[in-house]
């Protein structure tokens, strides 16, 4: 199997999707000849022509509005938003339109072909506007699916699934890992299922739950904890909506403890949803409060980014606290 970094895996997935289906069309700011500011769409214009891979004007609400229309027409648009921080001008088109298109029309029309790719998250000295993790804003919106890969293998498999899923999917790419994360990626066309979490490591004492770039923090924290004799079960949620409640519930019924972590601020973050659901479903089995390790309730900082980040040490401390409860 070839080794790829995450960008290569994404590029490869797009390439495969475009080769397999003429209806797949990629566009966004600087996506054309330049291949996107991160080069995720490199060479696609060369290969598939300007009609199927192109630059748009600089207008996110237009990009998604256009993509909605194109999807309604029967095409399979894969729109790139250059940074997740810049997805908000398109919020109305996503939340009021993409998400509600099928429902409001009684399934006469739908934008199921739509995929929105966008790099999210911190760790690149990006400050307020190149670091946000906005998944929770969209998770409150029935009608959307949301997937986040943690490594190149997932990136390819989940992105291909997202493109082919008959519902609009937001695909958040952990940009910190674009080049940092490498691994073996099958050459062929494959999909990973949306809506299914992955048990990355089994363990008996405590469940650690995350997605995307935070998985690295969780794995490092688990290493530290294992050294202290704590057996950790690690789950990668992979899909935020619909999220795999059963897998998490089963794990917590077994371990009795749960730590959830994400980069986004605490208040209103998706860890809250998870904690609320799990405390309800595992009430009698919980041995300690469900812990959330998250960003602070502030905008994303710059100089003190390291302090802000919910890193492995903070996750480790949460594990210890949970065990000691």
């Amino acid at each position: 199997m070839p080794k790829m970094n995450m960008l290569q895996a994404i590029n490869n997935a797009l390439d495969i999707a475009m080769a397999a289906d003429d209806k797949v069309i990629c566009f966004g700011e600087d996506v054309g000849i330049f291949g996107g500011v991160f080069r995720a769409t490199s060479h696609l214009q060369e290969k598939y022509g300007r009609a199927r891979c192109f630059n748009t004007p600089l207008v996110e609400q237009g990009i998604i509005g256009f993509a909605n229309g194109l999807a309604a027409q029967g095409s399979t648009p894969v729109a790139e938003i250059q940074f997740a921080d810049y997805i908000f001008p398109a919020f109305d088109q996503i939340v009021n339109e993409s998400a509600k298109f099928r429902y409001r029309s009684g399934d006469l029309f739908n934008v199921g072909g739509l995929t929105i790719r966008t790099p999210y998250g911190g760790g690149i000295s990006g400050g307020l506007y190149h670091s946000q993790s906005p998944e929770a804003y969209f998770a409150h919106t029935p009608g959307l699916k949301i997937a986040v890969p943690r490594n190149p293998h997932q990136a390819k498999g989940l992105l291909l699934a997202a493109i082919r899923d008959p519902n609009p999917v937001l695909f958040f790419e952990p940009k910190r890992l674009y080049r940092a994360s490498t691994g073996e990626v099958p050459e062929e066309d494959y999909q990973l299922p949306l809506g299914q979490a992955e048990i990355v490591k089994e363990g008996g004492d405590i469940t650690l739950l995350a997605w995307g770039a935070q998985m690295e923090m969780v794995e490092k924290a688990a290493e530290l904890a294992e050294k202290e004799g704590v057996s950790c079960e690690i789950i990668d949620l992979r899909t935020i909506v619909p999220w795999d409640i059963d897998t998490v519930v089963d794990s917590v019924l077994k371990t009795g403890r749960l730590v959830v972590t994400h980069e986004a601020p605490l208040t209103g973050g998706f860890a809250g949803e998870i904690a609320a659901t799990i405390q309800e479903r595992c009430f009698l089995y919980l041995e300690s409060p469900i812990a959330r390790v998250t960003g602070l309730d502030t905008p994303f900082p710059l100089t003190l980014e390291k302090e802000y980040m919910p890193d492995h040490l903070k996750v480790f401390e949460a594990i210890k606290q949970s065990m000691a409860f």
Binding site: G69, L70, R104, S105, F109
Partner: protein, 404 residues
């Protein structure tokens, strides 16, 4: 790439503001239905002319009846097309019937022209189990896949960039279709308008942007909406073809849209049409215009009635007469009333329709939510008569009177 424009160079400073030119208004018919001197009317055979006129009449009758029904408390809400029938139906008639229409909410005339049945109208208005939209949206949010009429969405202007994208897909599919998107002069203030027109121009798509400049956005008069002479001059900012028509002159609208369509489809290029018209009715059944405009102004526009103008023209062609009018009106009134009665009586959509179509399949959590809801309703069936219907074997009678 260079930003040097083809513009001339000057060494003394002069500001422009658009007063340097005017975009004229294209008219063909006078109020009495006769053509202006030198006006060359479009070719329109009798069948098509009557198809158009019948749609106009139907729309007028529908609007009258349904507003009345709303006033009687039989319907929760309604919006009239009244005064703008020529703009809507004239443009729809100029299209191929398979071209996509993406409208705002006041364009029922286009649907009527395409052949949306009176029962289809009523089922949507009453949100019953036969509504294509499954009773999920407020009245007038029609949609028809068969008739290539995109389901209406309340958030204004969102359909405009969608039309650009839809037309891009049409261009790629190469079948020679285009998209017509219709919106008010108020909606044209939204950011989505700018996005849509710019992208259409850059990506070269066959879309017709039809702005119904009817003078008001609810209570806000056009002069508090923008400062320019209408919407048309905006086209210059996108290097887009533009034409302005008398929106109450159906032949002018028809002709302008036909030429726009030809050009759009042949060249894969967008066109902007501004139709100057007037919203004769209130904004919606919830609105009372007396708070923001004068009866006198309304009267002045009532004199320019587009339906009457078309009728007068038809009479001059010898294609229509007093008796036709009477018979047609009677028939339409009866059909509308009968259909309304049928629609009112039809039961609401089944409880399951609450959770279907959120996704292509109902996800587990949502299925669970439905189960819990069913259980709850079984406990309190009287509190949820509509929801309880499908849960018991014996349904609860008609359900007709339940609509608020």
């Amino acid at each position: 790439m260079t930003t040097t424009t083809t513009a001339p160079v000057v060494h003394s400073l002069a500001f422009m503001n658009g007063d340097e030119f005017r975009i004229p208004v294209f008219k063909l018919l006078k109020r009495d239905g006769t053509p202006y001197k030198h006006a060359k009317l479009p070719e329109l055979d009798k069948d098509k002319a009557l198809r158009i006129y019948r749609a106009m009449l139907f729309t007028r009758v529908l609007d009258e009846r349904m507003l009345a029904a709303q006033r009687q408390g039989r319907l929760s809400f309604y919006m009239q097309c009244t005064g703008e029938e020529a703009t809507i139906i004239g443009s729809a008639a100029a299209l191929d019937d398979e071209d996509m229409i993406m409208a705002q909410y006041r364009e029922q005339g286009a649907l009527a022209y395409r052949g949306f049945g009176v029962d289809e109208f009523m089922d949507q208005l009453f949100g019953n189990e036969r509504d294509h939209g499954k009773g999920r949206q407020m009245p007038v949010h029609y949609g028809s896949k068969d008739l290539h009429y995109m389901t209406i969405s309340s958030p204004l202007a969102t359909q405009i960039p969608q039309a650009t994208g839809y037309a891009y897909g049409q261009k790629l599919s190469g079948l020679g279709h285009c998209t017509l998107t219709v919106f008010g002069e108020g909606a044209a203030s939204e950011g989505d308008f700018h996005a849509a027109l710019n992208m259409a121009s850059v990506h070269q798509v066959p879309v017709i942007f039809l702005c119904r400049n009817n003078g008001y956005a609810i209570s806000t008069p056009a002069h508090e909406q923008f400062s320019a002479d209408g919407i048309a001059p905006r086209a210059f900012g996108y290097h887009m073809k533009v034409v302005r028509v008398d929106g109450n002159d159906i032949l002018a609208v028809y002709q302008a849209t036909r030429e726009a369509r030809c050009w759009a489809v042949e060249n894969n290029r967008p066109v902007l049409i501004e139709a100057m018209t007037y919203r004769l009715a209130a904004h919606s059944s919830s609105d009372d215009p007396s708070g923001y405009r004068s009866k006198k102004e309304e009267e002045a526009w009532r004199d320019k009635d587009p339906v009457l103008r078309m009728r007068l023209w038809l009479e001059q062609q010898g294609w229509w007469a007093e008796e036709d009018e009477k018979r047609e009106q009677d028939t339409l009134r009866r059909e509308v009333l009968e259909a309304m009665k049928r629609a009112e009586k039809r039961p609401p959509p089944p409880l399951e329709s609450l959770v279907t179509d959120v996704y292509d399949q109902v996800p587990p959590l949502l299925a669970e939510q439905l189960d819990r809801l069913k259980e709850h309703i079984r406990k309190y069936p009287d509190a949820y008569p509509r929801g309880a219907r499908g849960l018991k074997e014996d349904t609860q009678g008609s359900g007709g009177g339940e609509h608020a």
